[in-house]
């Protein structure tokens, strides 16, 4: 893996030599995120979001494990145990706000990471496997976040669980038995809460495993870059450490500033007030909505309101799941040989003036009440969403004339390739 000019790990310290012989863990780290991993020298700040997503995952696991020490997964006392954490556990309020807002920021980071991938076609060969694993991570994260939102056992927890598991009841014939089987009852209750807690604790470690595969697959071809031109020579790259550790360090600082501003000053802004009311199966909230990060998919679900051959609800469920499943096929739908949107004039227009406004509209409509004009607006946006990925992308990839690409990354950065000079990392770090 990696490039021939990648630096080799040479332990000096006898302890590290011993370690390298018996268990070359330091070598693994050195080659993965150290000086042994050559990375394109032209990465923009959009390439920070992978590391940030990894950071969020670890943050969620650490805060979550501590919260689980104080939380009680029982429908009779779950709500009160969360309030116990907020009031009586030392720094419990901070842990819980970090965990709740951590989920929101995790999704924010993942969305930027995914849309970076869309714009720069990071899914194209030779990186299809990284992309496929990434979509798997996204689906697992959605499942984990949904089940986590059920745990406080507030009104939105309860009714959200009811609506989302109710989606399965749209499946013909076996739908209702599946829903009852998933919930362990006819409605969300203790059985559902317990299994959601169990899965919410377990899935993050599955995600961690797939993240390791995601990073492993990344290190086979190496990172993509904003030009989309593959690395050709040593001057196209810099060692990950210190160049990108330094850049990621700054990015992490900015991220933490925004994140902690929310944790300490707007901790409930991204949540819903109804979830501070204890779950009550006899009282339906006027306006059931998921967490903000599910709004676009919720808008697609609700866009289908007319029984055409099959039930409208089933259309909505099919469309909602398909809206993410299409991402799996992107490497084969978009056949343009050029990766970066910077050199694809038609693709770029459809990205900035099609996909991005479409997603913004879906976000807005997903959180709005299910009434006109929001339903009609989300129907138009849903139509565009599917057209974009399934019709527009395949067609423009065959009719578009891309702009000329730079010869190499070095040329893109320095203007010409023969003046390529890269200082040794050690010297530069001085």
């Amino acid at each position: 893996m990696s490039f021939p000019w990648a630096k080799n790990y040479e332990p000096v310290n006898p302890v590290m030599k011993f370690m390298d012989e018996k268990l070359p863990l330091p070598r693994l780290v050195y080659n993965a995120v150290g000086a042994g991993y050559p990375v394109p020298r032209n990465l923009s700040y959009f390439w920070n979001f992978g590391i940030l997503a990894g950071f969020c995952l670890v943050l969620q696991i650490v805060t979550g494990v501590v919260l689980a020490m104080h939380y009680a997964a029982n429908s009779g006392i779950a709500f009160n145990s969360v309030e116990h954490i907020m009031r009586d556990v030392n720094w419990g309020w901070m842990l819980r706000y970090m965990h709740a807002n951590g989920a929101s920021f995790f999704f924010l980071v993942i969305y930027i990471h995914i849309f970076r991938g869309f714009f720069y076609s990071s899914y194209k060969a030779p990186r299809e496997m990284i992309w496929l694993l990434g979509v798997v991570i996204f689906l697992l994260t959605m499942a984990t976040a949904f089940m986590g939102y059920v745990l406080p056992w507030g009104q939105m927890s309860f009714w959200g669980a009811k609506v989302i598991t109710g989606l399965f009841s749209a499946i013909p014939l076996v739908g209702e038995p599946i829903q009852i089987w998933l919930l362990g009852g006819f409605a969300p209750d203790n059985a559902a809460l317990n299994r959601f807690f169990s899965l919410h604790f377990m899935l993050p470690f599955v995600i961690l495993g797939v993240v390791i595969l995601h990073i492993w697959a990344l290190h086979i071809p190496g990172s993509s870059n904003p030009t989309g031109v593959e690395v050709k020579q040593e001057s196209d790259t810099v060692p990950f450490h210190p160049y990108y550790t330094a850049k990621d360090g700054f990015g992490l600082g900015v991220f933490l500033l925004i994140y902690f501003a929310f944790v300490f000053f707007f901790p409930n802004t991204l949540g819903h007030p109804d979830n501070y009311i204890e779950a009550n199966p006899l009282s339906t909230p006027a306006h059931i909505v998921p967490e903000w990060y599910f709004y676009p998919f919720y808008a697609i679900l609700r866009a289908f309101t007319f029984d055409f051959i099959i039930e409208a609800k089933l259309w909505g469920v099919l469309a909602m799941f398909s809206s993410i499943l299409v991402w799996f096929f992107l490497p084969w739908l978009d056949k343009s040989p050029v990766r970066s949107g910077h050199y694809r004039p038609m693709f770029r227009k459809f990205f900035w003036f099609g996909l991005i406004p479409c997603m913004a509209v879906l976000f807005y409509c997903g959180g709005a009440p299910a009434e006109e004009p929001y339903v009609m607006i989300s129907q138009i946006a849903t139509a565009y969403y599917f057209l974009h990925f399934l019709v527009i992308l395949p067609i423009i990839s065959s009719i578009e004339r891309p702009e000329p690409l730079p010869f190499s990354i070095t040329e893109a950065v320095l203007g010409s390739d023969d003046s390529a000079v890269i200082e040794p990392a050690a010297k530069a770090a001085e």
């Binding site: 020298r41 009160n80 309030e83 009031r87 309020w93 901070m94 810099v238 210190p242 160049y243 330094a246 850049k247 360090g249 700054f250 992490l252 600082g253 900015v254 933490l256 500033l257 902690f260 501003a261 944790v263 300490f264 409930n268 007030p273 501070y276 009311i277 866009a303 289908f304 309101t305 007319f306 055409f308 409208a312 259309w315 469309a319 096929f329 084969w332 739908l333 009434e371 006109e372 004009p373 339903v375 009609m376 129907q379 138009i380 849903t382 139509a383 599917f386 057209l387 990925f389 399934l390 019709v391 395949p394 067609i395 320095l414 003046s419 890269i422 200082e423 010297k427 530069a428 770090a429």
Partner: protein, 282 residues
């Protein structure tokens, strides 16, 4: 092949969703949705009151919290519990340990008679939570025209703009307007209900709880107008909903300060590491 299938699937979904759009548009054009009374007459909470705990450097007004507690104790607690709040938490409001004990002992909480084992009540201890005046929800519903008075512990977090919501609700009782009576006669308050535009469905089972000046006698000499009592109890309920609110904001500043410093350092570290890498050879 995969692209052909993709295009067909994409066109299929587009066709169905546009069809459903046309049906919806036709319905909307032919039978426009009737406006509801809630939509026309519901008001968002008043914004003209400022509470001391608001803003990035907000702090508790201890005197106000004590006044609010008195309003809760003498008015609200007749129907509403605070089951998440214990008497010991009153120490946050500036009461001494002895005062907390005395305060707790003045309340009756459910207990068990040590001799007979029968359910009874006993004086509260600092570790007890503020009790509900009703033995159970059936009794609460029976005593209140079938509307169960909600627990107030988290009320200001369970509503948008919660502190302002509580204040607006308490000061927002009014006669329904003539316009409402004309356009939505079915939304006029029925028997046992009271019109309040700040309440979600405009009709509230709770009778106006704060009606006359001096209903509560403040110990600190503040004039107990309805407006003042409403503000004070809204502040008190903000504290019960989030006793750590001020500590949270106070913790936030050093954390952000440290992070800002670390981020500036990281910026210079990044700059110096990259200083040689991007320079063009002129």
């Amino acid at each position: 092949m995969i692209r052909l299938v993709g295009i067909l699937v994409g066109l299929g979904f587009t066709f169905v969703v546009l069809l459903t759009f046309l049906v919806g548009a036709y319905t909307a054009a032919t039978e426009p949705a009737a406006e509801t009374a809630e939509h026309a007459f519901h008001l968002t909470p008043k914004e003209d009151v400022h509470f001391s705990f608001e803003g990035p450097v907000g702090h508790w007004d201890i005197a106000q919290l004590q006044r609010g507690y008195k309003v809760y104790k003498e008015v609200c607690s007749a129907c509403h519990s605070l089951k998440q709040v214990a008497f010991r938490n009153l120490a946050d409001l500036g009461y001494s340990e002895a005062q907390v004990k005395a305060e707790a002992a003045a309340w009756r909480v459910p207990g068990i008679d040590p001799n007979t084992g029968e359910a009874t009540t006993r004086p509260g201890l600092p570790t007890d939570a503020f009790p509900s005046p009703y033995p159970n929800s059936v009794a609460a519903a029976a005593a209140n025209n079938n509307a169960i008075p909600p627990d107030l512990s988290l009320m200001t977090k369970a509503r948008h703009e919660g502190s302002h919501y509580v204040y607006s609700l308490l000061t927002g009782y009014q006669e329904p307007s003539a316009e409402l009576a004309e356009r939505f006669p079915e939304s006029l308050p029925g028997p046992g209900l009271h019109h309040n535009p700040y309440f979600a469905n405009l009709n509230l089972a709770m009778a106006p709880p704060l009606t006359t000046e001096g209903q509560v006698t403040y110990d600190d000499g503040t004039v107990a107008t309805v407006d003042q009592m409403s503000q004070d109890v809204a502040a008190f309920l903000t504290w019960t909903a989030e006793p750590k609110l001020v500590k949270r904001k106070q913790t936030g500043w050093p954390v952000l300060g440290f992070l800002l410093f670390a981020t500036i350092l990281a910026w210079f570290a990044k700059k110096s590491v990259w200083a040689n890498a991007k320079r063009r050879e002129d």
